[in-house]
């Protein structure tokens, strides 16, 4: 029952945030403060991790790709896609769950146990709107920005490590970066980071806002916050990975069909089909491909 209570309380907290601000200027000031705390406060650790991830990806990919048939520029492609799709949004958000999430939880938890939230309530301030809303909106703005910075730094870190270790030259790396680049990957990573940003900030705020006890209890709240976020991130991540796998499978099946047709063209001495009719029955039980050759 506790889980249902928590979910209900969480949803009520989110609902309680939406009210008319008592003083717009004060809310704006708090929002800017949170942007600075979450964005600038986490920039250092995000930068270090991103450069390191990019560098390690380049070195490990080069270590695995031993075939002389694979051009070195492929390393850059792999690093680019890995960093953009997975490392920058997912790993950076897990780090931020610890850095920004625990900061939010401890700030609110400390305010709760020292009765500062009660004092604000007595003044007639909607504490959910004044304390939680700026944190969530600040996270929604700053975390995707941090993810974009992480992407750039990760790719740059890969280039740096590639050149320094003599794996591939900077120009080859740059060439690889531009090969078969899909801008949609960046959008997809940003969608993921928005989800993570909301989860990180709202769950941390929830555990901090409703924390009970002092001292050890408060620390438990912070621990619950970061570990709770991690579980939610994993669930959310699995869902998004599921979507990616489905998309990839679709793309793969399309590629298989294309390669199949290429083979047929090869065996038909360069003749390409004039028309391909690929039909699937309504209940998906029967598939039929008809190729009309010249």
């Amino acid at each position: 029952m506790t889980i249902f209570n928590n979910i209900g309380q969480y949803l009520l907290m989110i609902k309680g945030m939406f009210s008319k601000p008592e003083n717009g200027k004060m809310y704006w000031k708090e929002f800017m403060h949170q942007c600075s705390e979450i964005g600038i406060g986490s920039l250092g650790i995000v930068a270090i991790i991103s450069v390191f991830i990019g560098a390690v990806s380049t070195i490990q990919t080069a270590y695995q790709l031993v075939s002389p048939l694979i051009p070195p520029s492929t390393i850059a492609q792999i690093v680019r896609d890995t960093v953009i799709l997975e490392f920058a949004p997912t790993l950076v958000c897990i780090v931020l769950a610890g850095v920004a999430g625990s900061r939010i939880a401890s700030e609110l938890g400390n305010m709760r146990v020292s009765e500062q939230i009660d004092a604000l309530e007595i003044m007639g301030i909607n504490t959910k709107a004044y304390l939680i809303m700026p944190k969530i909106i600040g996270s929604l703005l700053m975390i995707p920005l941090l993810v974009v910075i992480a992407m750039a730094l990760g790719i740059w870190g890969g280039r740096l490590a590639g050149s320094a270790a003599g794996i591939l030259s900077g120009s080859t790396y740059d060439k690889g970066l531009l090969e078969s680049f899909r801008p949609y990957n960046v959008i997809f990573a940003l969608i993921k980071s928005y989800f993570f940003a909301f989860i990180i900030s709202s769950i941390a705020a929830f555990y901090g806002y409703y924390v009970k006890g002092r001292g050890i209890g408060n620390r438990k709240g912070q621990y619950k916050s970061s570990s709770g976020q991690l579980y939610h991130d994993i669930v959310c991540g699995l869902y998004i990975v599921g979507v990616v796998i489905v998309n990839k499978r679709r793309a793969l099946s399309h590629e298989l069909r294309v390669s199949h047709i290429r083979k047929r063209i090869f065996f038909n001495k360069g003749k390409s089909p004039r028309l391909i009719v690929h039909s699937i029955s309504h209940d998906r039980s029967k598939k039929h491909t008809k190729e009309i050759w010249r």
């Binding site: 003083n23 004060m26 009765e115 309530e121 003044m123």
Partner: protein
């Protein structure tokens, strides 16, 4: 006038206050006295809406506070000042910013007017030179006086003072 009618509050199975009634007239100073754990703070928190009573009613000038929605309660709360046992000062703000906070939030006064008001209330609690200090730099009694200055700076109609003499 604040009227408390047959208030009962329990946490789990433990009844902390049971069937408490009282009338607090305007212009009077009322005291709630009891041994440790007798429910003084719980009663006070019920009166300001921080706890919801299990039964009974609280009336502010004849209006039922317990039946009010959030917005209606906010209107009443703007007329309440409360001094907490632990002072509840904002750690990251100076004494001046702490006292100025309700003025910033609810008034359209200029900075000069707000500073004038802050200086006035600090003089009333005998803390003239503590404007730029942080709560961590103050003693327990000084914190209490700053919290008192914050509670009275907005000229509230009702002041709830919890252990106001503690640390002074």
């Amino acid at each position: 006038m604040i009227e408390v009618r047959n208030i009962q509050k329990k946490f789990g199975d433990k009844i902390v206050i049971n069937d408490v009634s009282s009338v607090m007239q305007a212009g009077q100073c009322n005291l709630i006295i009891g041994s440790s754990g007798s429910g003084k703070t719980v009663l006070m928190k019920c009166m300001v809406g921080l706890f919801e009573p299990n039964s009974g009613e609280i009336l502010y000038n004849g209006q039922s506070f317990t039946d009010m929605n959030g917005e209606q309660r906010t209107v009443i709360r703007k007329e309440i000042g409360m001094l907490f046992q632990g002072s509840a000062l904002f750690d990251s703000q100076t004494v001046e910013q702490n006292i100025m906070f309700p003025l910033d939030m609810f008034t359209q006064d200029t900075y000069k007017e707000k500073i004038k008001r802050v200086t006035e209330v600090l003089a009333r609690v005998n803390l003239v030179d503590a404007n730029k200090k942080y709560p961590a730099e103050l003693s327990g009694g000084m914190k209490k006086r700053v919290a008192l200055a914050r509670a009275v700076c907005i000229e509230s109609q009702v002041s709830f003072l919890r252990r106001a003499q503690l640390g002074s």
